[in-house]
Amino acid sequence: MSQDEAASCWRLGRPARRIVKRFAEVACPPEVRAGRVMGGLVGEFEALLGALPTGVRWLVQGGLVAFDQGARLYPRARGRRFVRLADGDADAYFRAILARRRGGLAASVQRIKGLVVFCYYEQPEVKEQLGYRPDGYIAEVSRRRLSRYGAQIRAGEAASLGPDPDGPDAMTPPAARGDRS
């Protein structure tokens, strides 16, 4: 199992996943509700959290819960949690928190927003919509590189590895080979 696969193994609990989804519906463009984007976003979010230090991971989860429950104190929410707010109220609460100049919750929500938005724009459908298609471009310029410079590349790669260690210079100290030491 690769490190990346290992990171993907980490999962949020069901309540936290629900908060992330509702958070994404407010933080991301409306297209987040289309097709399989939301599922991919949550998977990416979990994989990213899995790669963060444990302390940061708990801070993010704590921030999500505080944001969700904190809505109860927001007048327009009339005692409801963030996940239960209608779109307009959820957006107003989100804006109100981000507009705070000070306080841990505002900073925490700002960072979580960054992570969620990051995960949205990592989705292949979203990249495609933006016209960001690096894979085809990379394949094309990689071919061009090899066709134009193949021989020079092979020579350069061999030179950077140095003389064959099984050859006559094998295991000779640099000074003895006349190199500067």
Binding site: E5, L48, A51, P53, F118, P134, Y137, E157, P165
Partner: protein, 512 residues
């Protein structure tokens, strides 16, 4: 051994139980410093073991998926934070090849004025431009330092140059460690062609071909020592899911620490090693960076073409460099001051954006401390002078973008509006910008085990030997006595090559 894995490389999946290994020199880290040291020592026939905390990811595995790159190639998914006012975000590579796998590939020699300062004010021996010349020449040859082939220069870079030319500002093509770079613009996700001559494709295979061994996925927990000096290192492999794996114990006459300016002082300190200078973990410098996002009418598609073909050096005497660095949509979007529909509207212009920025040769300093339960933590205070220069650098970058034809520019000040012309820019900059509102980041961490011949000033001597602890060396950007004002990789390579040759000359003293 798995097919496709170089001989001498061992990953956690190939280790069934605890391992005990003996060698002449053990090197902690396989980045710019560690891999260079390993290759030089292995060239000299010395038995070397490298221990790398990150995984082995070959060239064929690199893609344009940002999330995957952050998870596999960077420490903590690239989300390091230096605590201070404002905080500075930083990222460090954590993989075989270290940060050289994910850097932009800029290869600049240490400026002569910096070397002079190190010699005269910091008491570092044999560091003049003339004495360093052969080492710079050697590393430039090893990693193929050259200018870009013209067909790889993209529209974002052409616009940067057009803006600088329109302003009459000095702009120079970047020297990069690349062998006919294809211009994939994937440097920070790992070069998918191997054209960027990182340690992964140069010094590491070079060292392995000469008999060196490399243990990947293994975190060194402490350096072992006796009354006579160091005796080796102890570490532990990390299993998937960050579970503890088998232990690794390496006995060696010489220990070289090359984990970078955050991890190196942390490892030395948790191993109980102290510097009489009191400078271990202190003197951290980091070249703070800030970026602007400029929107153009024309399509830019900044992801087509090489990463950083040019640098604007007009303000280099003031310690400010400007350039453009394309970023993938996910990384740009996460920093935009918008959400919902407004975020979608801004991002719809992704192919019309240029991300440009400034880098400051800093005057502030910070510290790395081990905090129980949290591990190494970084503290850094931006000085008033540096904050002023960041604001000036941001204004210069935005001005440059307008000169190149930008229609609007977003500034990196928390809550700052976008500006639509140079006069609005002047208005925005003329208002006080609170230091805490600056959005800063960096990849250049330096100076936490500084060199000096004087043990009262430096943690290590002029050649990286830890004062007062026989057999212990440092070989990374921790060595720098101060910031250098340019991308640090080539300075690390040249210094470590020089220090490796010095160690080889003294090998009999260490019995290796």
């Amino acid at each position: 051994m798995t097919a496709g894995i170089p001989a001498g490389l061992v990953r956690e999946s190939e280790v069934a139980g605890d391992l005990r290994v003996e060698c002449a020199v053990v090197i902690v880290g396989s980045g710019a410093g560690g891999a260079t040291m390993a290759a030089e020592l292995a060239d000299a026939g010395i038995d070397v073991v490298m221990v790398e905390e990150g995984g082995y990811h070959p060239t064929e595995s690199f893609t344009a998926q940002t999330g995957r790159a952050l998870r596999t190639l960077y420490r903590d998914a690239g989300a390091g934070v230096a605590l201070g006012r404002p905080p500075v975000l930083f990222s460090e590579g954590r993989c075989v090849g270290g940060s050289t796998v994910v850097n932009g590939g800029m290869s600049w020699r240490t400026p002569a004025r910096v070397l002079e300062r190190w010699a005269s004010k910091e008491d570092v021996a044999a560091i003049s431009e003339r004495e360093m010349e052969p080492y710079f020449a050697q590393v430039e040859s090893r990693i193929s330092v050259a200018l870009q082939d013209p067909e790889t220069i993209g529209q974002d870079m052409r616009l940067l140059k057009a803006g600088a030319d329109a302003k009459g500002w000095k702009i120079i093509p970047n020297l990069r460690n690349q062998l006919h770079c294809a211009g994939t613009n994937n440097c920070t996700h790992g070069c998918p062609t191997g054209a960027k001559r990182s340690m992964l494709v140069t010094s590491i295979p070079r060292a392995l071909r000469r008999g060196a061994r490399l243990f990947a996925d293994c975190r060194v927990e402490r350096i072992t020592k006796s009354a006579r000096g160091v005796t080796g290192v102890e570490g532990r492999f990390t299993r998937p899911g960050q579970r503890r794996g088998p232990s690794l114990s390496v006995r060696a006459a010489v220990v070289v620490v090359a984990g970078g300016a955050v991890q190196t002082p942390a490892l030395l300190a948790r191993s109980g090693l102290r510097s009489a200078s009191g400078q271990l973990g202190r003197n951290l410098t980091m070249h703070p960076h800030a970026k602007v996002i400029a929107f153009f009418d024309e399509e830019v598609t900044g992801w087509k073409g090489v990463h950083q073909a040019y640098q604007v050096r007009e303000f280099a005497d003031d310690g400010i460099l400007l350039t453009a660095v394309n970023q993938p949509p996910s990384l740009i979007a996460m920093t935009l001051p918008a959400h919902g529909r407004e975020l979608g509207r801004l991002m719809a212009g992704y192919n019309h954006m240029i991300t440009a920025g400034c880098m400051i040769e800093d005057t502030g300093s910070g510290r790395v401390r081990n905090i129980p339960g949290l591990g190494p933590q970084v503290f850094y205070q931006v000085t008033d002078r540096d904050a002023d220069r960041v604001i000036r650098g941001v204004a210069q970058t935005a001005e440059l973008m307008f000169a190149a034809g930008a229609r609007r520019v977003l500034l990196p000040f928390d809550g700052a509006p976008e500006v639509r012309d140079p006069s609005a820019l002047r208005d925005a900059i003329s208002r006080p910008v609170p230091r805490r509102s600056l959005e800063l980041f960096t990849r250049h961490l330096m100076g936490t085990a500084r060199m000096s011949q004087d043990p009262r000033r430096g943690v290590v001597d002029s050649f990286g030997a830890f004062h007062g602890v026989p057999g212990l060396y440092v070989a990374d950007a921790s060595l720098f006595p101060g910031p250098i004002g340019v991308n640090p990789m080539e300075t690390i390579l040249a210094l470590v090559t020089r220090n490796a040759h010095n160690l080889i000359e003294q090998r009999s003293r260490h019995g290796i």
